[in-house]
Amino acid sequence: MNQLYQLFIVEIKEYIREPGALFWSILFPILLALGLGMAFSGSSEQDRTIAVVCSSGCDNNTLVPKNETSTKIGNEKIGYTTFKFQYTDWNQAVQMLKQGKTSLVLKPYPNDSISYHFDPANADAKLSYLMLSDYFSNKPIKESEIEVLKQEGTRYVDFLVPGILAMGIMMSCMWGISYRTVDRRNKKLLRRMVATPMKKANYVIAQIGSNILTGAIEASLLVLVTHWVFDIRITGSFVGLVLMFLAGNIFFSGLAWLVASRTSKTQIANGLINLVVMPMMIMSGIYFSYHNFPDFMISVIKFLPLTILADNIRSLFLEGTGINHVLPPFVILSGIGILLFAIGIRVYKWY
């Protein structure tokens, strides 16, 4: 019987027989894309609560609406925002800020003057301020000067799905490979296997190969479902996408192999993986653009492997990128991945 085939089949069987793993690797990314995609798109109707702190004589202010009333600002083109005014004292208002129930505190004064209190770093608060101050000074939004862009590929889901795809590659390599490795080492199964004439190379190839196959299924399902729901399309080179997918798998398999090369303790492996995975998940621009980070950080973030993977997958999806464009990152990621493997295999503990 063929050794490589048997090893491969065993990996696949272990994968499909584990409902928990199936959930995290297949269903979870899809649910994440659906959930976030819906939360941040579509509805142009928004609600904002404004805390109003009333000092003596503020009743004479004719501009600020009364307690518990609402005002709808906007137009057909940019959508409407409903501001709800809630009268309260200063301490309460601060409390509301802390809890995220409001982002803007208003203080009306008798002679129709108003002061706005908010954090200018908060884009949402700034927007509320601009809309309200224009509204109170009677400057209506000019509908005629606004042209709505309906370009595909500029929505949040368009940004999100390629990111989740990249993250999925990282996650299933890191968790899949290291979990199985540590489990088998712990069970003394690895040492039992290498006490036979099994070729270690076959074991390694089967593990990466099966991971690429299952990863391809995970990615295809994600793309199919989001295509169906959000009309996500791959505008660039499909072959390029396959190449990036392979490069991501090779890189993160190599990294997982190295991370799991010695320990037989699940906790240690988990800790190491989180250490590697967490910073990239936060910084590599999976959910939000990393261009909001300070410049000196961006110059580092750009070279994180997950950033390279996500940026290139994203440009293949959204910018119609050709295959030539992704060849350098393909070579770099696969090259480093193979290097990591080489190191991992050297220090790998079979016994």
């Binding site: 019987m1 048997q6 065993v10 003394k188 199964l189 296997m193």
Partner: protein
């Protein structure tokens, strides 16, 4: 030139820090020979066997199998060995036959070997069970089934029957004896059970603290202690140790509870026993227990080490 022995272990040492797990052991095993390694917990049995299996590396000394060395001819050696580790767990959600198929593929064996192995260890009805749902004994049998897959010239089994019920243990013994008859297989088996060692193996090697204490056939080992016989007694008041010397010749004595209780190993029961009983009667001591029996391997072990085999 003399033919190489099947297995040759030459003054092998393995230390873990200050623990001398294996401290200079040599042994040779010929084709078709069954040898038992007998010793208490921590004696170094597993460490020794795993060095022969190529899983651990000796610090000192040399191991050759069919004249081949670990580190040079690994693949060839592995082809001729079948082994079971002291503990192995398999992939939880892989069925028994799938697990066998995986291991069979490592030896490039035909599918039919899976059936043979299943039959040998009597797991036919469990072929479709996930390994995690096997009982402890069934797991042991699966491990043995895997060891038999390649019908090896050499079996290296580390406590293969620990945890099996008595009838399952007998079954395993029968299987092993069949292997020997059919394939002229050689075997090293580690065990805590002297019954197992003496039933299966002509040669027994007793180890403790990384060293060989004694070796030979069961008869030879016991003869080293001149076929000693053992008297266990208990009386109601202590007897001075000097008295026992005066009563006759003994090999060893072990007194407890202010000399009210004891174990005497003697060369000849018929000489010593009447003298002891007579003394007890003379002194009007009350005898609450007395027992005599032939010395066993376990007794031999205690006299050698002060510890029980199964300790």
């Amino acid at each position: 030139m003399q033919k190489d022995p099947l297995i040759k272990v030459d003054n092998v040492k393995k230390y873990f820090g200050s623990t001398k797990a294996v401290d200079g052991i040599s042994l040779q095993i010929e084709k078709g020979e069954f040898v038992a390694l007998l010793g208490p917990n921590g004696a170094g049995k597993t460490t020794l066997v795993e060095m022969i299996e190529g899983i651990q590396k000796p610090d000192k000394g040399e191991i050759s199998i069919k004249g081949l060395l670990w580190g040079k001819n690994d693949k060839e050696i592995r082809e001729v060995i079948g082994l079971s580790l002291q503990e192995t767990h398999f992939i939880d959600k892989l069925r028994v036959d799938e697990t066998l198929a995986l291991f069979a593929s490592f030896y490039s064996l035909p599918k039919s070997r899976i059936e043979t192995a299943l039959e040998m260890v009597g797991l036919e009805v469990k072929r479709k069970t996930y390994t995690k749902n096997l009982s402890g004994g069934q797991k042991q049998k699966l491990a043995l089934g895997i060891a038999f897959l390649n019908q090896p010239e050499i079996l290296l089994l580390d406590e293969p029957t620990t945890g099996l019920d008595p009838s399952a243990r007998r079954e395993v013994w029968d299987i092993l004896m069949n292997m020997k008859r059919e394939f002229n297989t050689a075997m090293i088996l580690t065990t805590h059970y002297m019954e197992e060692a003496s039933y299966l193996c002509k040669r027994i090697i007793m180890v403790d603290k990384g060293k060989v204490l004694a070796r030979g056939t069961l008869e030879q080992l016991l003869a080293e202690y001149k076929n000693g016989e053992i008297i266990n007694f208990e009386v109601d008041s202590g007897i001075d140790e000097k008295v026992f010397k005066e009563l006759g010749h003994y090999l060893s004595i072990n007194l407890q509870e202010n000399n009210k209780k004891g174990e005497i190993i003697v060369e000849s029961l018929v000489n010593y026993m009447p003298a002891l009983l007579k003394y007890i009667e003379q002194k009007s001591l009350k005898l609450s227990a007395i027992e005599c029996r032939k010395m066993t391997l376990d007794d031999l072990f205690i006299t050698l080490t002060g510890r029980h085999l199964t300790e």
